[in-house]
Symmetry: C2
Subunit: 368 residues, 2 copies
């Protein structure tokens, strides 16, 4: 593209977009003075500044960020890497990140992994190549080593991973064990004993939730009744796992690893004509917007997603400011009770949900 045509006609349509040099020529000053004036440096005379500004305006000049970033060594861009745009938990954390980043003058750009581990790695690489000033990773799918490696190139904070897996990487998480515990205690208080867990697939956060579930069941003397069924990552697998869990374990209550899983349970219950919460109580995790959308409204363990996003940005800024030690923030989850959980019924309803389903359920359950 070495078309050197100095076509100064009308609106600078295509060709070469105007540079700082063009502005300087137009205003009759030097290149660097333009640079200063444009950024409002106060050691530029009023007259000169005026001329420069109008010249820039007339030429339709826009500064080239790439060039600036190259010389300054920073882009003022924060990258967010996320596994799955379809998971509201992820996108709600993003809102917090964006809020803080905006306030600090950073631009937020998202890279999306499409639930594909390889793609996720490539996207991370892309962000780093772009020389973003920091990366927020909302995904447990990346290998700890890959993160540590990334952290050598730019500040990285991982949201959702509970503990220190990757040296050099800060983390922001909620206390998954405590959250699971609160959920189980809530169900136990309602009189449930056959409390099952529709678990994640072994990544750190879901593992911790599973641990919390198990530990609390033991604590309650219900250790023998604990049932854990892992769930898949796509909607179809979720549906199957939910169906199988309800079918085989016949729980009176289920703690789901997240709201998406809880949704699958509600759907299966509906399909089997098991009324919720009369015949089955369901607790979700994350308290995403979903929880207030589904019917019945979902009892769910809230993670402070906005706060987590904001905190992630703060940690990034601290790193940029020179901090070298790792930090791991753990926030307290909070159980939000809605309509999907209710008292355990002792009648045949709970004991054999399918029987009840056939048998014309008149809401005769214990309606405290």
């Amino acid at each position: 593209m070495s078309t050197r045509r100095t076509d100064g006609s009308g609106t600078g349509r295509r060709d070469r977009r105007p540079t700082i040099v063009d502005v300087a020529a137009e205003a009759g000053v030097s290149k660097s003075l333009v640079s200063l004036a444009l950024r409002g440096d106060d050691r530029v005379g009023e007259a000169a500044r005026e001329r420069i500004l109008t010249a820039a305006e007339r030429l339709g000049y826009r500064s080239n960020t790439l060039a600036r970033s190259l010389v300054q060594g920073r882009t003022m861009i924060l990258g967010v890497l996320l596994t799955d745009l379809a998971n509201p938990y992820h996108t709600e954390v993003v809102a917090g990140v964006e809020e803080s980043a905006d306030a600090e003058g950073f631009t937020v750009l998202l890279a999306h992994g499409q639930r594909d581990r390889h793609r996720l790695g490539r996207q991370l690489e892309s962000l780093l190549q772009l020389n973003v000033d920091g990366v927020v990773v909302i995904s447990s799918w990346l290998e700890p080593d890959a993160l540590t490696e990334a952290a050598r190139r730019a500040p990285v904070v991982m949201v959702g991973r509970p503990t220190a897996f990757s040296p050099g990487v800060d983390t922001v998480a909620n206390d998954d064990e405590a959250g699971a515990r609160a959920a189980v205690l809530h169900l136990a208080e309602l009189g449930h004993e056959r409390i099952a867990h529709l678990s994640g697939t072994g990544r750190p956060a879901s593992r911790a939730r599973g641990e919390g579930y198990r530990a609390t069941m033991r604590e309650l003397g219900l250790g023998g009744r604990a049932v854990v069924r892992p769930i898949g990552d796509d909607p179809h697998q979720r549906a199957r796992a939910a169906a199988e869990l309800l079918e085989s374990a016949r729980p009176s209550a289920v703690l789901a690893v997240n709201d998406l899983a809880a949704l699958a349970l509600l759907d299966q219950a509906h399909a089997s004509r098991v009324p919720v919460p009369e015949g089955l109580s369901v607790v979700g995790y994350d308290n995403t917007a979903l929880a207030e959308t589904v019917r019945p409204r979902l009892t769910s363990v809230d993670q402070p997603r906005l706060v987590m996003g904001r905190l992630a940005v703060r940690l990034l800024l601290e790193r940029m400011g020179g901090r070298t030690g790792d930090r791991h923030e753990v926030l307290a989850p909070r159980l939000v009770v809605r309509a999907s959980t209710g008292p355990a019924s002792t009648g045949p309803l709970a004991a054999a949900p399918d029987t009840a389903a056939q048998g014309r359920a008149d809401g005769s359950g214990p309606q405290a």
Copy 2:
């Protein structure tokens, strides 16, 4: 040559990350040869190439994209600007964009408008500043002028806007009028006459759907019965609009402007104890993943979102290739019938939905 410290120690931890010059020194060749070798140019000797590659490896060298982009004048990045991460329609188009972009060697970065017009404009500016090679806009919120202006700086394609509002901007859309028509015809065939429309808020796509609805109602001789209620943009407004429409117009069927609006209708119907589809038929638009998640499964007008995303990328590439005329692609929508639509009932159920609701049902309180 101002090489002051040839520190070839272990892992290059922080400090200055290695540049092409460092690699050249390490390999004992010149800077430009390294550049060639690294990109696999075939006019580099086998021996030299080998030395260079290992040197780069040893130093942990990664090329600086910023510098490359600056000199080449392109970034190999495609920007996607979207209004609302929470709307699955948007994110499903993104999947198509990413698929094609990947195949062509482009990286896709997303910028998010947070349902805020100003923010949307700023984000567009950020993408352009970054010198992305093209922008896909999935949002009708931007002013046509802003888009035309943007198109002067980089190829821009707008997804979802039905016609040519912004000169210089290509568009990819579905035929909204045809889609609305198919939906209304479907309902009419089921015997519905009191078919209402829960409409959008006047942006082009929703306006076209409204047009299609009205025209088809007239065509069917039902013009006098047409009822249109606009809906808001956030969940709360949606709920209210849905409630008011059902309450005031008492339709036996509703065409919603999109799946989110349809969801609000289903929720309100449930709250009022109107069974769907027996007491009310609902048709959504977009056929997002939501349609297969809600209960009952939603009849919805499908837009080929993946194809639209792919097409958007193709149009971008064509522009980069030098095309100057605008192109406007219009794809055919397709009605997908599921469980939320059924025959019109002539009984009292449909005639007076609130009677059924008011019937002071059993005391089970916790319904929203």
